[in-house]
């Protein structure tokens, strides 16, 4: 049916070039040599010259390899049997179980018509006070977790995967250390959460090109689940590795780099993935949490920077805690009005006071005299860190709000805590 081509003219990096006719842009091809074969994708057409990006890497590819064009783009099999399964970046099972026999669905499909989107309406409860109270996660939201290598972002994601109140979890690993992959698998298995999870994992040892497909596979599957009325949470780690893979390919392709070697379309590429987060009016939803490491703790690095503009807020993970400054859930105001009357005001006030505490700390470290108010702030800061910021704390939203009031009462008089009078009357702890 399909013409077979022999003879590859150029091999540069992971890109092969051969001459072929009637090839569609973005189509897949199967490259076979000896006993091996690998998928490849058309990334450029120039007259008869066809440029193919080979998934398994070009090492060992001979110039007389056989290339067969499949006549369609990248697809992924989809059915409910995906739950509990683990795949690699090109969709091959990693769990020693058979390939999934299901109808394939296209990957990286068209984006959702903005006029069909709805205002976010439901919060995703995670049981982590720094998220639920201060930066509520909302269905259809996309949020990155900015952190430095070495911060416990993977354990945090794993905990969210266990605790989050959603139907399906899809975990995408990009350039994941093998140990981290095992950690995720074991944690989810132990807690019995694997049965509601699908994992697409590209480990650091796998070919770079496969890393590029992980987000697309995850999101294509997530979209299908969401259309079947499921609330889906997609966890991606680590998006910086993904961007680096894009950079690697772009530079091999001799594209003009824009910032620090990253391709000029980094923003559009990241956005196309993150924008898959959606709440379908008559079906389910997709929420995305993506760990993004900041090289050198630099938030102005192109990857976290572009991400920050795309996502609806961000979490900063620093010193093992979700940092209250800078962390922001831009959608929280859609849901925290309906949680409890004090939610909004108290979260703002707590952060303002914590900011005041930080500057007092600065003052103290420089040896200045502390005023009475300063010592109140110091006490407040300590309590805040122990009772709410500590990542080990698991509290329901309502309990966490009560804890806020208790902390305020322990440290301040009711008229100096800066809360509106009507809320003080209602919520100030009585005894």
């Amino acid at each position: 049916m399909h013409t077979l081509y022999h003879g590859i003219e150029n091999i540069v990096g992971n890109v092969l070039m051969l001459r072929a006719k009637d090839v569609g842009y973005g189509d897949l091809a199967e490259v076979s040599f000896g006993d091996e074969s690998s998928l490849a994708q058309v990334i450029q057409l120039d007259g008869e010259q066809v440029y193919l990006q080979i998934f398994s890497g070009s090492r060992g590819v001979p110039t007389d390899a056989t290339v067969r064009f499949l006549g369609h783009g990248l697809t992924v099999p989809f059915s409910d049997d995906l739950l509990g399964r683990i795949f690699d970046g090109s969709g091959v099972p990693r769990d020693n179980r058979p390939e999934l026999d299901a109808a394939p669905v296209g990957v990286a499909g068209p984006s959702v018509n903005p006029s069909q989107r709805i205002i976010p309406r439901k919060m995703v409860r995670t049981g982590i006070p720094m998220i639920d109270v201060f930066n509520t996660l909302v269905q259809s939201q996309k949020l990155p977790i900015f952190s430095v290598a070495g911060e416990p972002y993977n354990p945090l994601l794993a905990r969210i995967a266990l605790q989050a109140e959603v139907d399906v979890i899809i975990l995408g690993g990009m350039g994941l250390k093998y140990d981290d992959y095992l950690f995720f698998r074991e944690t989810l298995e132990e807690a019995g959460s694997l049965s509601r999870t699908v994992m697409y994992v590209h480990t650091a040892a796998d070919p770079t090109v496969e890393c590029l497909f992980v987000p697309d596979l995850c999101l294509a599957v997530a979209e299908k689940f969401a259309l079947e009325n499921k609330e889906v949470l997609v966890l991606l780690t680590d998006m910086t590795n993904y961007a680096d893979a894009m950079k690697e390919i772009a530079i091999t392709m001799e594209k003009i780099p824009s910032n620090r070697g990253y391709p000029g379309d980094l923003y559009s590429q990241l956005a196309a993935r993150y924008e898959k987060a959606v709440d379908f009016e008559t079906a389910g939803s997709i929420t995305i949490l993506a760990a993004t490491t900041m090289p050198g703790d630099d938030v102005t690095h192109p990857v976290p920077d572009n991400t920050g503009y795309i996502t609806e807020g961000q979490f900063y993970l620093r010193n093992g805690r979700i940092e209250p400054f800078g962390s922001l859930s831009r959608l929280k105001q859609f849901v925290n009005d309906d949680t409890r009357a004090d939610h909004r005001k108290i979260m703002d006030r707590m952060i303002q006071l914590y900011a005041a505490f930080r500057s007092t700390e600065e003052k103290r470290s420089m040896g200045f005299r502390m005023t009475e108010y300063d010592s109140k702030l110091v006490k407040f800061g300590g309590l805040f860190e122990d009772k709410l910021m500590d990542l080990r704390v698991t509290l329901h939203l309502e309990d966490a709000l009560d804890t806020c009031w208790e902390i305020l009462k322990e440290c301040f008089e009711s008229d100096e805590c800066g809360m509106p009078t009507e809320l003080i009357q209602e919520f100030w702890p009585k005894n």
């Binding site: 009637d22 709805i118 780099p257 003052k363």
Partner: protein, 585 residues
């Protein structure tokens, strides 16, 4: 310009690279002509961006997956244009003027490629009333009649690109008709007849200049945001930019402006930003009441929505589509505000294209012509006197998303050169939850404020001095700060807390009318200029915290309510109690 027949031809694809295709063409084509790449009976819209010999390069406004070498490309003989006529308002368009809700009816949740719908509904009926009679002389931009569109009187104008005077030969009587109906026939100087319909097309990248003259913008465009209207005002017909790092509240500020701004029509061009933000506007506006007219806010709004995951090439087109429609309504003597969020994404679209064309990159790989393109865009704003003497304006507000929050980057710098007001957002302030997080010391505006300029200068100086004291205090500590300096610091802090900051989500505090701002500002100014004395620094701080509480409550009371006056008196009395008698020292 007057030729109506279009020249069409067909070429073949010779190469595909991302959204750029190389096409061999047999006959003449023109730069920026629209062509359609044909794949499986789908036509993908594209625009010529470069011509070399017998080959031209087109940027495709859609996903190019599946295109093959040898596939045909149909050239349309036209530039990228929008339809201008009644029915634009309340619409939600993509960057190429396809109505998104109608697309959804056809395709469901997703934006399938190759689907195009007329920008104006061909079936909608409009009540046309003529305003000229046979024999009258008209020229481009003058109206021949009107139709009511919501709360506006929509002028039907002689197409803007027609040169010279025209004699009205036939004019329709008052009738109900569709946009396609010919309502007048006019003759040019050579006696050749031309048709005027309810709508006309206009190439988006060209400014509409069918007016008498441009005027200097001076009248304040109230946004009900205190820090803007009082400190960094924007004039009708002016331009401003809001650069800020991510998370600093650019979009919230844009949304507030789009709701409260004192203009007739608001055009929101969501350009390469999150879809979620547009949705808020989309879903909330129909329910919100326009305080000026009592009608739904959507009646005066038009949304151009080319969000970040939609094709990059139409992102570039979307700001032009927006500003063209803004200019069109300006031609009816209306004040139009066009908000572009974000111009950086638009600049990035230019960069992506420039990279694919392998042009020599400028700073940060942006094309060398970036500055010219930005300047040309902002220059399409302006206050103009139309040919019939009425005044119309287009105000442009663009957000800028500088890489790394660093204002030194090319897009911010090119923008700052051409705008009249700069509302710089600061991460520091947003981290401290001081909203709106406009930096009160770095921002500037060249337009006149609502309040007395002298008092304003005095207040600004106080703010700056207070901040200086704060910086100094970080080094020498509170005890090393003299009492007058300390009070200066507290005063600046007070101004910041109760006037510069504003709770956007509170009904009363969020919308501070011009009248309220003038009044509250005079009271705040009075407090700030009151000489004060305190026993200790702690005592001073406590007093100020107490006043802040009173003033913040005061901000949340409607101005008409009797409690407003009570709170004001309470505040002034509290301050008065600490007035220095001048005998202390």
């Amino acid at each position: 310009m007057s030729e109506t027949k279009t020249r069409t031809s067909t070429g073949t694809i010779d190469g595909v690279n991302g959204n750029l295709i190389r096409v061999t063409f047999p006959e003449a084509v023109m730069q920026n002509e629209v062509g359609y790449a044909v794949i499986n009976n789908l036509k993908l819209k594209a625009e010529i961006v470069r011509i070399r010999g017998r080959q031209c390069w087109l940027q495709v406004f859609e996903d190019t997956a599946g295109l093959k070498v040898g596939d045909p490309v149909e050239f349309s003989g036209e530039l990228l244009s929008v339809e201008l006529g009644p029915g634009l308002l309340k619409s939600v368009y993509d960057g190429l003027q396809n109505p998104l809700p109608e697309l959804a009816e056809q395709c469901g949740y997703f934006l399938e490629r190759g689907q195009y719908i007329d920008g104006l509904d061909r079936t909608a009926k409009w009540d046309f009333t003529p305003s000229v009679k046979a024999g009258d002389l008209v020229e481009a931009g003058e109206s021949v009649g009107t139709v009511p569109e919501g709360m506006f009187t929509h002028r039907i104008m002689v197409p803007f690109d027609w040169r010279g005077k025209f004699t009205v030969k036939e004019i329709s009587a008052a009738q109900t008709c569709t946009v396609d109906t010919v309502i007048a026939k006019v003759a040019d100087s050579a006696g050749e007849l031309r048709d005027i319909k309810l709508y006309q097309s206009w190439p988006v990248k060209k400014a509409i200049t069918a007016f008498d003259e441009r005027l200097r913008p001076t009248e304040n465009m109230t946004t009900q945001v205190r820090i803007l209207d009082t400190f960094f005002p924007v004039a009708k017909g002016g331009t401003y930019c809001i650069p800020g790092p991510f998370g600093a509240g650019k979009t919230v500020l844009q949304q507030i402006t789009s709701r409260r701004a004192d203009v007739d029509i608001v055009i929101v061009a969501a350009c390469g930003e999150r879809a979620g933000e547009v949705v808020e506007t989309l879903r909330e506006f129909p329910e919100l009441e326009d305080p000026r007219t009592g009608k739904s806010l959507m009646e005066r709004t038009l949304i151009i929505c080319n969000t970040s995951s939609m094709p990059v090439a139409s992102r570039e087109a979307s700001v032009y589509t927006g500003v063209t429609i803004a200019e069109y309504y300006r031609q009816m003597g209306l004040n139009v505000l066009m908000l572009a969020d974000s111009t950086s994404r638009w600049a990035q679209a230019l960069r992506e294209l420039s990279g694919r064309l392998e042009e020599i990159p400028g700073e940060e790989a942006f094309p060398a012509y970036l500055e010219t393109v930005i300047a040309n865009f902002y220059e399409r704003a302006g206050l103009v006197r139309l040919k019939d003497g009425t005044i119309g304006s287009v105000t442009i507000g663009g957000t800028v998303s500088p890489a790394g929050g660093n204002f030194e980057e090319p897009v911010t710098q090119s923008t700052l050169k051409v705008v009249g007001a700069f509302h710089g957002l600061s991460r520091e302030r947003s981290d401290q939850r001081r909203y709106p997080s406009i930096d009160p010391l770095e921002s500037w505006s060249k337009y006149p404020s609502l309040v007395d300029p002298e008092k304003l200068d005095q207040t600004r100086r106080g703010l700056r001095e207070g901040r200086d004291v704060e910086q100094m205090m970080k080094v020498v500590g509170e005890e090393g700060t003299a009492m007058p300096d300390f009070v200066m610091y507290l005063k600046a802090e007070f101004l910041d807390e109760v006037y510069l900051q504003q709770d956007a989500f509170h009904d009363v505090d969020g919308a501070s009318s011009a009248e309220r701002q003038t009044h509250v500002f005079s009271i705040i100014h009075q407090i700030l200029t009151t000489p004060l004395t305190f026993k200790t620094r702690d005592n001073a701080r406590q007093e100020f915290l107490r006043w802040q509480q009173i003033a913040k409550d005061w901000n949340r009371i409607p101005m008409e309510s009797p409690e407003f006056k009570t709170a004001e008196e309470k505040l002034l009395a509290a301050v008065e109690a600490c007035r220095s008698t001048g005998e202390e020292k």
